[in-house]
Symmetry: C2
Subunit: 645 residues, 2 copies
């Protein structure tokens, strides 16, 4: 371990560096040999920077979650052997454990870096996404008025990925000069030379982004690395208000002769002979047989080794009292969301920022304007850059903030599904509120119709899916998610909706109502069948039910504002009526109907089931026209009931 004070020292203790470097390089060889797989090449080309950065960053291996630590992100997550070696050498954990557990089932020391390893901030592995997380960390420093720096390492291959451009632009826009990026330019990716796979002029590109660009001819020389890093860290750059990128030429596999400049060793482990030769070259002892025995003796590891070391708990939120929209109100859930968010901001963001909001050029459409005005410093415009914004918002939600991310459904889900997936297993605390869901988007047409949000978010283990039936329920749900930890997707349409009423004409979702995940609302009673619905079609269902009542049929109407978790008991109860009609403004095979069928299928209950929903792509058109076309209006529901039951 080397410790350097970059505020006072200009010279790096190079003589101490090389023995440490060789030791870490040996661990990289050991790990990958033992696992029989892994990525030694990039590990050895980034290693020097990692060791130099860790020598002078502000961090404490005993407190990986220290709020004021400088944060280190690894975007090319496959260089995990290099990262584990370096962090282990700095005392974050037992190097011995890391070496023998590397890539073993249930071990925290995964093939791509994982947050379960102390010192690792964020799971990466899908390339091009680490910069967004690092940008979030730099932004967290600004929001919390903390002085820490954020450092991110990237590969040169992943520079091809568009999301990096988005993240770089965001960082420059918000003048995040507390961010230092390092690009390991070893010139190779899995497929061969980066210049052949996809040519890229890195200096020009980063200059176009408006960053400070420092180029290093030898990205292994500790003094050169230190000098550049110090310059960036201390803002001794041409544009001090801009972030800085260090583009460092390196050699893949550096320090192990047969690995050097060999694309093969991007992702190939050394054989035993090769490992022995490498250890000799590195002048390190050959402990391979002992390590092999130790690895074998591990047996099956428990999953309990996965602990999160850096999650900053969200602040306590005062959720306030619900707003009541009276019976005759006609407004959209978007506006109810906007008002609730404004109220939350007023209550919680007065002294310091607790609630943060993001959108992607749709502030007005998603009704974040009032929040923006109320919390000037807490609102961030991500531009038409959804991939970056989703990832950034996700990471920020682990930094002691309640983060709302709002855009249209197709952009909050379909377009950034993988970013949400990565957020999900990074155990974020993100509130995704998506407007313009379903066919209810105005006349924008099929590209803008998000008819798959249940199908998508059902794949993500920690995400709940909610969808209010009217503005009153929307207000309740927004306050609920603001006050509860976890990942939530809240969908809503675009149109104005009538208030859902009790049979006595008063608002159903009144001040006494409490939103509960996994609980359906029985809006109307009846024992001759049940209509199950959510969202804008709920009031159509109620109207259809009235017409059926006139025909002497008493049907119950259930509202499923909580789609995940879902109220299985309510479905089973409804099945007792013998006839269930599901109505939804969603893909008919992947939404509520599918979930209801699953519950019936698993419970073995026998009940007639029919589903109405979106069974082909919609066209442009007013939602009312489209609902008619798809048979989702009260007339369509009424006719369907008559036909099927």
């Amino acid at each position: 371990m080397i410790r350097v004070d970059l505020h006072t020292q200009e010279v790096f203790p190079v003589e101490e560096f090389y023995p440490l470097r060789r030791k870490c390089a040996a661990h990289i060889v050991e790990m990958t040999y033992l696992a029989g797989c892994g990525h030694p090449g990039g590990s050895l080309s980034t290693l020097d920077f990692l060791l130099v950065a860790l020598s002078c960053m502000r961090h404490d291996p005993k407190r990986p979650g220290w709020r004021e630590r400088d944060r280190l992100f690894i975007s090319h997550g496959h260089i995990s052997p290099g990262v584990y070696s370096a962090l282990g050498a700095y005392g974050y954990f037992s190097l011995e454990e890391a070496v023998v557990q590397f890539r073993k089932a249930n071990s925290p020391f995964g093939g791509h870096v994982e947050w379960s390893v102390p010192g690792v901030e964020w799971n990466t592995g899908n390339l091009g996404q680490g910069l967004s997380a690092a940008v979030a960390s730099a932004l967290a420093g600004r929001i919390h008025k903390l002085e820490f720096r954020t450092v991110v390492c990237m590969g040169d291959g992943e520079q091809q990925k568009g999301q990096i451009s988005e993240a770089a632009r965001f960082a420059r826009k918000y003048r995040l000069n507390n961010l230092v990026a390092f690009v390991d330019v070893n010139g190779l990716q899995i497929g061969g030379e980066t210049e052949k796979i996809m040519p890229l002029n890195l200096p020009s590109l980063w200059q176009a982004f408006g960053w400070n660009v420092l180029e290093l001819e030898d990205g292994h020389h500790p003094q050169h690395l230190y000098k550049a890093f110090r310059q960036a860290y201390l803002h001794q750059t041409p544009t001090p208000e801009a972030p800085t990128v260090i583009l460092a030429k390196t050699i893949m596999g550096k320090g192990v002769s047969f690995m050097e400049n060999q694309a093969k060793f991007h992702g190939t482990a050394p054989s035993k002979e090769q490992a022995i030769q490498a250890l000799q070259e590195l002048n390190q002892p050959n402990r391979l047989e002992t390590l092999e025995t130790n690895r074998k003796e591990l047996g099956t590891l428990p999953l309990s080794l996965h602990k999160d070391h850096t999650f900053l708990e969200p602040p306590q939120i005062e959720v306030g009292a619900p707003m009541l929209y009276p019976a005759q109100t006609l407004t959209d859930c978007r506006s109810a969301y906007g008002r609730a968010l404004e109220d939350l901001a007023k209550r919680n963001n007065r002294e310091k920022i607790k609630i943060v909001g993001f959108t992607c050029d749709l502030e007005g459409s998603v009704k974040m304007n009032a929040f923006h005005k109320t919390s000037l410093e807490a609102f961030f415009e991500g531009g038409i850059q959804e991939h970056n914004t989703a990832a950034l918002a996700g990471r920020l939600s682990k930094e002691g903030l309640v983060v709302f991310f709002s855009t249209f459904g197709v952009f909050a889900g379909s377009e950034v599904y993988n970013q949400q997936r990565l957020n999900d297993f990074n155990r974020t605390n993100l509130k995704v509120v998506a407007t313009h869901c379903g066919l209810d988007v105005g006349e924008d047409g099929p590209t803008h119709q998000c008819i798959d949000f249940i199908g998508l978010f059902s794949n993500l283990f920690s995400f709940s899916i909610f969808f209010p039936a009217d503005p009153n329920q929307c207000d309740h749900i927004i306050r609920y998610i603001a006050g509860h930890k976890g990942n939530f997707f809240v969908g809503m349409g675009r149109s104005k909706l009538p208030i859902v009423l009790k049979e006595n004409g008063e608002p159903y979702f009144d001040l006494d109502y409490r939103f509960q995940p996994g609980k359906a609302d029985r809006l109307r009673n009846g024992d001759e069948g049940a209509i199950l619905a959510f969202g804008p079609v709920v009031h159509q269902a109620i109207q259809a039910r009235e017409r059926l009542l006139e025909k002497g049929k008493k049907i119950q109407v259930l509202n499923f504002a909580s789609l995940k978790p879902i109220d299985e008991a309510a479905v089973r109860e409804a099945a007792k009526t013998g006839a269930i009609l599901v109505v939804e403004d969603h893909h008919v095979e992947t939404g509520l109907g599918a979930k209801v069928a699953q519950i019936l299928g698993k419970s073995g209950l026998s009940c007639k089931l029919q589903c109405l929903g979106v069974n082909h792509y919609g066209s442009s058109g007013k939602p009312k026209e489209l609902y008619k076309t798809f048979g989702l209006d009260s007339e369509g529901i009424f006719q369907a009931w008559q036909k099927f039951f």
Copy 2:
């Protein structure tokens, strides 16, 4: 309509231009007024370029699908009023129809441009994706050795989107100088000034991409536009082998005084008074009342108006005879895919290219090497740029080619879900073959485990989902998709699999076997229960069945290689045994088990059902270890059966 021969004419007939321009501008006003919504601002800022381009491009309004036409793509699809006005003026369709049908339900004249309109090549609307489609078109020209040019219009707001960087790099790498891009730099997006929303140095950025950059101070001046377009078209540029971008400063709402430079008119229609004023300013007759009447009289439009005008049928493919992997073979489906693809290339790509392959820096891992070697000119390396590659491959599949896109499951599905969605309603003909699906990915860990492909692709109406149980079935499936039109997702794991055998020890999927979508394979008979599975767990299921047989239980084993469409009859038949156990290397709630439950739920059949699958994110680890952890190996299946039934 103006026609100019750019090979001979240096001067544009400006005097003919302005009357045409005013007429089209008036149609923009009419359309948006009539619909009460739409995007007049950008329509008016791009209009001049559209009219100039159409005046000198090689195209024939009577033959929108003419193979040798120059192709025009619109990336900022919301400027549909401008596009419809211009195409209508050039005789692609009745302008009258376009004006009165604009944004009406089921009309082809949607809110964002759609292929159902003659002259429109590709549905866009989600920004930043049109360039990828245009790049595909330029590539198609190269592959087919046709001289046509591809022209693409983009907005300046969408330049923020990372996918544009990816597409620009790909175009430069492959020297697609048959591509001309136009950026309408009106300086405004929905949220306000682009410079405030997300600052971007466009000239530097495009120079960094290595493109020719032509800047225009007045993007409305027909002579200036013509000169730049001609230069780009005729390769009279500093780097003739590179594509060219024209960055043109324009005025949003140009020509209508109260719309000029008003961000509000990005997406707001004029009121009646405003429309009347605009028509006066444009010196055009006020036909609003007649048009209103005509629109009202349209009634409900039929869906049949949606015809595809540009789809080029895929070539006839000689699929050859299946390869037989004998009973004792141990190989992976990836390799079987690679061999089948190589064989298809040898049979079909000899004289001219019929089958094209794409990957994203994973050529070796997805086993495309042999195809690459066999078809040097038909293999394209997309780099670590999945978004661009998925969109590009999709468009290319409508250009008379059979297109295979292969990468890991998380990159072919999760990461590019929205690109596949856009492909889907663009009615592409894409063969997505994804390796590394499920937990069966080696030790790369959760970021690389694609456990949601059924959940994802079930949302896409036209995509089929197949998953072979062994290399023999894989060979059959690959030949099947090569020979059939449509979008297919074929998943497979990474590991070597034993051959699935009949009870007599011979390969089940032999030369007589025929793969049929929607048909399950009954691998083993039995009437005391059924195990339903697909993919790598199939042989685990067979082993478990043997052990159960030893205990006196005769269970049938069904293989669902076709997951969408699914064999509902086989499920219902299995239900007659009274007990179904589903086993899958997939998210347990969104895969085969969910589909089986749905079928049971909808059929009202009563049958005990249990599902084994992936119920939390996996860790790094050998697939064998992971299957054990998740209870998906033969032991786990055997135990589960004993426990539940």
